[in-house]
Amino acid sequence: MFSDAEISVFLDELEEKIQILNDNFLLLEKEADDPQVLQEIFRAAHTVKGSSAIMGYDRMSRLTHEMENLFDNLRQGRLRVSTEMIDVLFEALDTLKSLRDEITEQAAPVDIEPVVAKLRRFLPGEGAENMAGGIPAAATSSSSGSAFSLTEAEEEVIRAAYVRGMQAYWIKVVVDAECQMKSVRAYLVFQTLQEQGEIIKAVPPAEDLQEGKFDTTFEVVLLTQEDAGRIRHLLLTISEIADVSVETINLPEDEAVSVTASGVAGSSQAVTPAGKQGASGATREREEGVKQAKTVRVDVQKLDNLMNLVGELVIDRTRLDRFAAIFRSRYGSDDLVDVLNEISNHLGQLTNDLQEQIMKARMLPIAQVFNRFPRMVRDLAHKLGKEINFIVEGKDTELDRNVIEVIGDPLIHLLRNAVDHGIESPEERVRVGKPRTGTVLLKAFHQENHIVILVKDDGRGMDVERIRKKAVERGLVDAEMAGRLTEREILNFVFLPGFSTAQEVTDLSGRGVGLDVVRKNIEQINGHIEMNSVLGQGTEFEIKLPLTLAIIRALMVSVSGEVYAFPLTNVMETIRISPQEVKRIQNTEVIIVRGKVLPLICLAEYFGGQRIGDSRLYVVIIGVGNRRVGVVVEELLGEQEIVIKSLGEYLGRIPGLSGATILGDGRVALIVDARALTQEVTRGVAEEALYAAS
């Protein structure tokens, strides 16, 4: 039996190969004859075949064998890629994934026969048997300094040994020239080595050695957990052995087919306009492979716990600081007080570093999410009879793990919409003078303290006038008001629950269906989504996400004796005003800042406390999208980094609050939900009045 750790290594590798297969199938469809793509696929399938066989996953081994077989035929030019074949290949890939799930989740056994039969159907007449074991021996010379080479099958065995924590050595034994009974010496060498591990190859072959059919030198490949020095020492104790050299065989993490591996193999960047990435793509793939081997999977919960513990440290440090201050005031500056200060400072430094490191540990490349999409877009386009060039950029962009978990669904929705409703049919595109093939772009990149994700298509776009009309029909705005709203404001109506359905918004259907849910999901992780669309030219969704969920910069304020935090992303500016500057429009208090009318809200009052009525008022101007609201607070305490914590399931969602954080002194401060506050306040305001005033 294999240990959990071994299975986990196998699964990691499997995951990687599945991804390579997935990416390259997509490429294969575009560039059917690219030998590099075929080679890449062949190798991935081959590796899975080998390692699953070793692990005893027979069905997986059989399935990948069939796949490999097919690719071999493609590679040899005996077959041609067809759309139908790609479909079956994807089916096989899905089956492979099910087999994987079987291992990880003890899912019900998967029947591989139907898809195996389908794969076979493509094979040329001579049948599968010829090729069954006929893996072309792409001989390599990965063991440096030796004239001999390993076959692919041997490499496979060596790689499997790596998985089991073994090393492979290329051992060269020189027998004393005067030796009378060479065969006995060789036998002793074999026996000694077999006690330490497993001999998988001998040159000349073992039978020859036993008959003494060699000069003075022979070589063997040994798999063992022992180190090279000890092996060498053991052999040298055998009499009449003149010399022994032990070399470690280092196969590359991935495949060892050296010639093609260093060539063009655009596998990492699934589908790109050019379809090829050049050597850098292949290099990155390799680096990722190596990196993966050094990765430990950690439950996010554990990281959260670590973060909490660091929070505790921060609190203790603050207390220590205070303690030092008391000492200083009591005893003045003396050596002990200085040491105490020093300790406190050092502790502060350490906790900061610790916090940063844990944060970094939570980050994952967005490739985790993006990698699923090329296949999805491909299938969908295929089904709808559309031609789509799907471009994915910025897969390396890193995001907080929690954000990554949430962002998948909204992106699926937006991409589906783009393919389904955005991109026109090839015929329609030609008719309106566009290229037959539509383009959908999915792109992630950094922007200051945010990650931006774009979902963009060059499809038919949205009809602003229709949305405007519909908004009026639905009574969301009156006609006059609707006329004044900008295009972007009008477009944002589609994010309202149940706003746009089917035919009413676009010529086809449902562009807006579910967009309210998309927005909700994104806002849940403190993100923000906006849409731009030009009729006939396409639609673009821009999602802005915080880098991490856990830590944000915030403006701390005090209200009715409690501390509140305003996320800095929503704080536009802070000002001081006198009560006389507060004006009234209908029932709403407003202030005018640089000619703009802003609704004003007293936070204490909003939270059910006493209204603040000082001679000078502090106002925090918060903004979400293009809405601005002034919030009156008692005191500004300054900016700081805070760790966001949820208020928990029991309290649920409390209007105006988005969470809590722990202050330096251990007390809890609440985080103001600027978005909800802005929406609530601006909704309550008679908008016409505001417009009239400005």
């Binding site: 929070g311 939270f607 928990g648 649920g652 401060a669």
Partner: protein, 165 residues
Amino acid sequence: MAQKAEVTGREEQIVVFKLAEQTYGVDIGAVAEIIRMESITRVPRAPEFVEGVINLRGRIIPVIDLRKRFGLPEGEQTRQSRIIIVEIGGMTIGMIVDAVLEVLRIPAETIEPPPAVVDGVDVAYLRGIALWEERMIILLNLQKILYENEREALEEAEAAFEATA
């Protein structure tokens, strides 16, 4: 609960506390710890009986005032006041009580179903009454107390109960 009593030889371990001159008990299995009163941050717009939130070693824990939860007269916090931290259904919640008295082991058969009314405490919140060594301990049904969103369901059950009573 009943099954558990059987396993432990028909005994139950109860954390006994005082609230408005009455003696109450909760199953010790639900009690994570008992802490002294500390600074509680008020949470505006939360239900009235929610006193606020505290920092329990880096976790934000809501704290409810059991007196308010039961609609009992307000009391003052004293040096004896404690927060009992309970864990129910994956949630951790603090409950303010007047004093924690002791941990008792009581035979399960001394527990009787709750009478219709106990000193104004809604019967739906009760699990039963334990009469043990001259004492009367009111056992709480934490599930019911903590799942505020099930309140409507509770009220319905109450109405049904009253109809049958």
